[in-house]
């Protein structure tokens, strides 16, 4: 019971510090902006640890963070193998193929008004469907290896990427297009100098959405069958063995890779679309 009391105390302290910081004189500095969510996260973790220990929740239901950390550190090589299998082989290759194919399709579609008017509503429709449901079929076709995971990822990222790129390529004003006309620019010239740069914010939006979808696709596809490796496989088998520490470690790996993946794309976006209204306010 004392541990639970400690948890309440910890919460009070963490919350108090955050209230002070958030309303204090330094509230708009970068350090505070970083510190407040970190303190919040640390408080949550601490309370989790204390309450789970204090009320003696069985570890098969909710393990304390310390046990998860121990399991994570103790199984680094296994988790690294799972990471390469799911993220690098399954998700990343599917992501590159899917986004690349969608981009090329968008360029093709862009040349024909008929195709654009046909594909855009269809693509919007497809992007809203639970495409992850094709996983059992694709696992059946491409086997248990990473190829079937990549195939699921390709299908999942293709339509959001296509829709965003097509929308981006038509995101030029009439005036900008007229300007290109007065220069008698060719299709390729106006694509390269005007429409591709103007489409970049949309393309990156598609890439960001797709980065999350890619991980979902790769992990869920493993629930339908995989070699004895991979994050989805690790999660479903470790649950069967009631090894919750391992389950949480695998979840931690997928969360970290998801955030890192997204972060990398967002970083590239920031460097390439520095000129866009959403960024230039800050400088």
């Amino acid at each position: 019971m004392t541990l639970v009391m400690f948890a309440v105390l910890l919460w009070a302290v963490g919350f108090g510090v955050n209230v002070m910081l958030a309303n204090g004189p330094a509230r708009d500095t970068g350090a505070v902006r970083l510190a407040v969510p970190l303190i919040f996260g640390a408080t949550m973790l601490g309370m989790w640890e204390l309450i789970v220990r204090g009320t003696q929740v069985p570890t098969v239901i909710l393990p304390p963070p310390s046990l998860i950390a121990a399991s994570f550190v103790g199984n680094l090589s296994t988790l690294w193998g799972d990471f390469t299998q799911t993220i690098l082989k399954g998700a990343l290759s599917g992501y590159i193929i899917g986004c690349g194919a969608a981009f090329l399709t968008a360029l093709l579609v862009d040349r024909s008004d008929y195709l654009r008017r046909g594909l855009l509503p269809l693509g919007n429709f497809m992007a809203a469907l639970p495409i992850v449901g094709t996983a059992p079929i694709l696992v059946m076709w491409f086997g248990f290896g990473w190829q079937s995971k990549a195939a699921v990822v390709v299908l999942m990222v293709y339509f959001p990427m296509l829709v965003n790129t097509v929308a981006g390529l038509s995101e030029t004003s009439a005036m900008q297009r007229d300007l290109m006309r007065t220069y008698a620019a060719t299709w390729g010239q106006s694509l390269w100098t005007l429409r591709l740069p103007a489409a970049l914010p949309f393309i990156f939006n598609g890439l960001k959405i797709s980065s999350t979808l890619a991980l979902i696709g790769a992990i869920v596809a493993e629930f339908f069958g995989s070699p004895t490796q991979g994050l989805g496989f690790r999660i479903s088998t470790s649950i069967g063995q009631l090894d919750l520490g391992m389950v949480w470690s695998a979840i931690l790996v997928s969360a970290l890779s998801g955030t890192a993946f997204y972060g990398l794309v967002a970083l590239a976006e920031r460097r390439m679309t520095f000129w866009h209204a959403s960024y230039r306010g800050g400088r």
């Binding site: 309303n23 076709w141 969360a255």
Partner: protein, 335 residues
């Protein structure tokens, strides 16, 4: 004349400026092209099984041994055996069923099962557990419950974030980060852990759905509640309006377009959550049907379940969009 009409004339991008009847033919064309592609793809996908069956029926096949055929490319086999491919679109256990086979399976497992099946609604008075109607309703229940929970909690948290600086600074970054992680990875664990403490059936699936729909709503609603501009907020300040009045009369109405935009994402995510949540337990639902189909190699069954899931998603998103249009029109937005 010139300035105004020119603007309108050249603004017809992404087909939005086209009248409804002109928008349909290209879409129909694409759909037809897709089906044609599907029918063509059926031939190479199923060629090995079809040739084996043809060989058994006594048709000359080249090369004659199944072992040799196994190592050959599908297209090469198609080219060499054009005379023996008649059964491509009607084989028993196809790798890729033809569209009409999926439709037949869909009919058999919905209308036919309910009307004529022993366990169907006509003969037994309850929906058959072998029919997709039953499974779709199971999935839909979890979807709706999760969607409602996720939306309500999401709106509540968003209101808190907008009104409390501490909550904004401490919770918002985590809400944004959580959108970048594959939350479905949690699904099997949630199911099993809840099962082990005695909660099963609808609730665990709804929890996953709620979890998936929660974060888009939070992020969208925070944006929406903050959308009133400085002038509109200043107007409220000149009335010295209390916080609740600002919330009800300005922030909430202003957030409606953002709310619906997130609801469309949330309902689709809810459905995915419910389907994925059905994978580990196998107690009904479209997800369970898909997994069962994949265990027993019943491709048509998977495709039929997939089709129903796609239909559900389409209807749900469309219904949300319809409500959006209705609500916004009532609130005086331009149609």
């Amino acid at each position: 004349m010139s300035e105004d009409t020119l603007g309108k004339k050249s603004r017809g991008k992404s087909g939005t400026g086209w009248p409804r009847w002109l928008r349909l033919p290209p879409v129909l064309g694409m759909v037809l092209a897709l089906f044609a592609l599907w029918y063509v793809a059926v031939v190479p996908m199923n060629v090995k099984e079809v040739l084996t069956a043809a060989e058994r029926a006594g048709v000359a096949v080249s090369p004659p041994s199944a072992v040799e055929r196994r190592d050959m490319g599908n297209w090469a086999l198609v080219m060499r055996n054009t005379h023996a491919l008649g059964d491509s679109w009607s084989s028993d256990r196809p790798k890729l069923p033809a569209p009409h086979q999926v439709l037949v399976e869909l009919y058999d497992s919905t209308i036919d099962e309910e009307l004529n099946g022993r366990r169907g609604i006509v003969k037994s008075g309850t929906l058959s557990n072998r029919s997709l109607v039953y499974h779709a309703i199971v999935t839909l229940n979890a979807t709706f419950l999760g969607f409602v929970i996720g939306t309500v909690l999401g709106c509540a948290l968003a209101v808190g974030i907008v009104h409390s600086r501490v909550m904004d600074m401490s919770v918002m970054p985590w809400a944004i980060v959580s959108q970048t992680i594959p939350i479905v990875a949690l699904a099997p664990m949630i199911i099993v852990v809840l099962y082990s403490i005695g909660v099963q059936g609808l609730i665990p699936k709804a929890v996953i759905s709620a979890y998936l729909s929660f974060f888009p709503v939070v992020v969208g609603m925070v944006k929406g509640l903050r959308s009133p501009d400085a002038m509109q907020m200043d107007l409220m300040r000149t009335y010295s309006a209390p916080t609740t009045a600002v919330l009800w009369k300005l922030r909430l109405p202003a957030s409606v377009p953002y709310l619906f935009a997130s609801l469309k994402i949330a309902i689709a995510a809810s459905l995915v959550g419910a389907i994925v949540g059905e994978l580990p337990v196998q107690k009904g639902g479209l997800g369970a049907r898909m997994l069962a189909g994949s265990y027993y190699g019943q491709t048509a069954q998977i495709w039929a379940a997939l089709l129903v899931a796609a239909g559900l998603a389409a209807v749900l998103v469309w219904a949300t969009g319809w409500m959006e249009r209705r609500t916004l029109r009532k609130m005086g937005a331009k149609p």
